[in-house]
């Protein structure tokens, strides 16, 4: 019988990752011969709650939710549960209070990603230095988790590293460039050693700023997700020390597979993380240039 997946995405189009995730999701679903209704919350938590209710009306067989806010959807998930529709949380986690209401999670582990970035930062700086942070859109779970993982790891394990500033750049390259320019004005050469960015897109903006100030020699950057520009950057320059390989296509494929299993009533693991390995100069050759 026909399986219908109902999906509400976080904010398609806001970056390539989410867009490719959307495309890959559709392709994978087509390939597996299942039907789907894909909605987009455009970054608005209330809109996502509404969309979850709309999907309930559609009587979908399984619901995939990429939360805008992991907490805000908990009450409506209770209704979904009562309606007997299994829910798979994708990419960003739902709040722990919602764990009992959903059937599983599929996606990367953003906290771990932050931790990895911290570990690479420690490597790059030999455990000693002052770091500034440029994070994604504040209030969004992905941005928060990547930041939190980084902070926690540094605090726990690297006493020599100090995070002296955090500013958001809303996943926006132009804003990241501006924020970095202002950091560079505020801190002279030698006063900062590292830059942590939420993803490569902002990273490249920051690198633009660093290059044009000629400050590339004494700065190392680590990032939490690789983009094509970051890949090129890592190969050609040496500011970007390390990033993480996270494929939206793997992410989406994985998600669809698990969603279909849920719809068929099969057992699935609760946490289904897919790997987001560290990428540095040393192992970059092992990875393909991302298409996002």
């Amino acid at each position: 019988e026909d399986i219908v997946i109902g999906m509400t995405a976080n904010n398609t189009g806001v970056d390539s990752y989410q867009t490719l995730h959307d495309q890959a999701f559709r392709e994978k679903a087509d390939e597996m011969g299942v039907e789907y209704t894909i909605l987009d919350a455009r970054g608005e938590p209330m809109r996502q709650v509404d969309q979850i209710m709309d999907l309930m009306t559609q009587d979908v067989d399984v619901m995939v939710v990429w939360p805008v806010s992991g907490q805000a959807i908990v009450p409506v998930l209770r209704q979904v549960q009562q309606a007997g529709i299994p829910v798979l949380i994708a990419n960003s986690k739902v709040d722990e209070s919602g764990f009992e209401l959903v059937s599983g999670f599929a996606g990367p582990d953003n906290i771990t990603q932050g931790e990895y970035a911290a570990q690479m930062m420690a490597e790059a700086l030999d455990g000693e230095g002052r770091v500034v942070e440029i994070m994604g859109t504040p209030g969004y779970i992905t941005a928060e988790e990547r930041s939190q993982g980084f902070h926690d790891e540094i605090e726990a394990n690297y006493p020599g590293i100090e995070i002296i500033e955090t500013q958001p750049a809303d996943w926006n390259r132009e804003r990241a460039q501006e924020v970095m320019e202002n950091y560079l004005t505020k801190y002279d050469d030698g006063e900062i050693d590292g830059v942590y960015v939420g993803d490569d897109n902002m990273g490249v903006g920051a690198i633009n700023a660093i290059r044009s100030e000629g400050r590339g020699d004494n700065l190392k950057m680590t990032s939490a997700t690789m983009f094509a520009d970051g890949y090129d950057e890592m190969q050609s320059g040496d500011i970007l020390y390390g990033t993480l390989y996270q494929s939206p296509i793997d992410d989406a494929n994985y998600t669809v597979e698990i969603a279909v299993k849920l719809a068929r009533g099969e057992e699935v693991e609760f946490f289904n993380y897919f790997e987001t390995p560290k990428v540095t100069d040393e192992n970059i050759a092992e990875f393909e240039r991302p298409v996002w």
Partner: protein
């Protein structure tokens, strides 16, 4: 006679559009004309709808409030944040927050005579700052599950309580607009502020009251949203001001002031809600969904213009 007909069409065009969209989605989508879906629609429109009540009052005054979305978000956070003190105190705290910000807006518009677009643009940015300060940039989860009943209760097992709250407020609002001095003065001020002042209407007080009203409505919307999500999230409310303004304008309220009413605003809110819901049910791709909503807005005012009665 002809003027009356075109007048009628212009004034009531929103209902024709509503009917058209109902027919369209009804034939396109099997699940559209179901009780369940209409429960959804009523629930979904109630949040923007509440804000649209305050906005309609202000637009009749010839003013605008760009900060409603952010007041809404902040009040949603406050009602969650104060939950440990009990549900009633937290609701009151949220209402007070909304009204205080509304009053600040109103005082600067009425007493300092700064254009409301600028005053509320400033507030839109600043209240967002307050929201982040208050939430500490994170989502706060509510602790008292009873609070979620507000949003999940259905009157008679059928009609969502938030929608009832919205419709009751709308009815009261419309009644006030039609039948009280405050309501009539709203039109007077929007139609000819100078004349209103000269006639001895306390224009400043009136404006401040309406900004407070707008704040209170946004707070009510925030309380309902918080109840639906049981969460305070700093990402709430970024686009709501635009949708609210669009809905009120679709309902035929004049941005310049002096015209408009809440019944037609209800029409505007319904049209927006039904389009969004219908497009969701059809699973229209988000990019085309946006294109569609933007074009509809332009189209509707274009049609409104076409039917505009000729100047005498």
């Amino acid at each position: 006679m002809k003027k009356q007909i075109t007048d009628f069409i212009k004034k009531q065009s929103i209902w024709f559009i509503l009917l058209l969209s109902l027919i369209f989605f009804g034939t396109m989508q099997a699940n559209f004309l179901t009780l369940r879906n209409f429960q959804n629609i009523f629930l979904q429109i109630s949040i923007n709808g509440l804000m649209a009540i305050g906005m309609t009052y202000l637009m009749i005054n010839g003013e605008i409030d760009l900060s409603v979305g952010m007041i809404y978000a902040l009040c949603a956070a406050v009602v969650i944040g104060f939950q440990p003190l009990g549900i009633i105190p937290s609701v009151l705290a949220a209402l007070a927050t909304g009204m205080v910000i509304g009053a600040i807006n109103g005082i600067f518009v009425a007493k300092a005579e700064i254009n409301s677009f600028i005053v509320t643009l400033g507030a839109m940015i600043g209240v967002r700052g307050l929201l982040f300060v208050y939430t500490g940039e994170r989502a706060i989860l509510g602790t008292d599950l009873r609070f979620t009943y507000l949003a999940s209760t259905r009157i008679g097992g059928v009609f969502p309580l938030p929608a009832l709250i919205f419709l009751v407020f709308l009815a009261i609002g419309e009644y006030f607009l039609r039948n009280t001095s405050h309501g009539r003065n709203a039109y007077a001020i929007g139609g000819n502020q100078d004349a209103a002042e000269k006639a001895g209407i306390a224009v400043k007080k009136h404006l401040i009251i309406n900004f407070v009203l707008s704040g209170a409505m946004a707070a009510t919307a925030g309380i309902i949203a918080a109840s639906r999500m049981n969460t305070a999230t700093p990402t709430l409310g970024r686009m709501n001001h635009l949708w609210v303004i669009i809905a009120v304008v679709l309902g035929g309220t004049d941005l310049k002031g002096g015209y408009g009413n809440l019944v037609r605003t209800l029409g505007g809110i319904f049209v927006i809600g039904i389009l969004d819901n219908g497009l969701n049910l059809m699973g229209v791709h988000t990019f085309y969904n946006m294109l569609f909503m933007g074009s509809i807005l332009i189209l509707v005012i274009f049609i409104g213009k076409k039917f505009e009665p000729l100047k005498s």
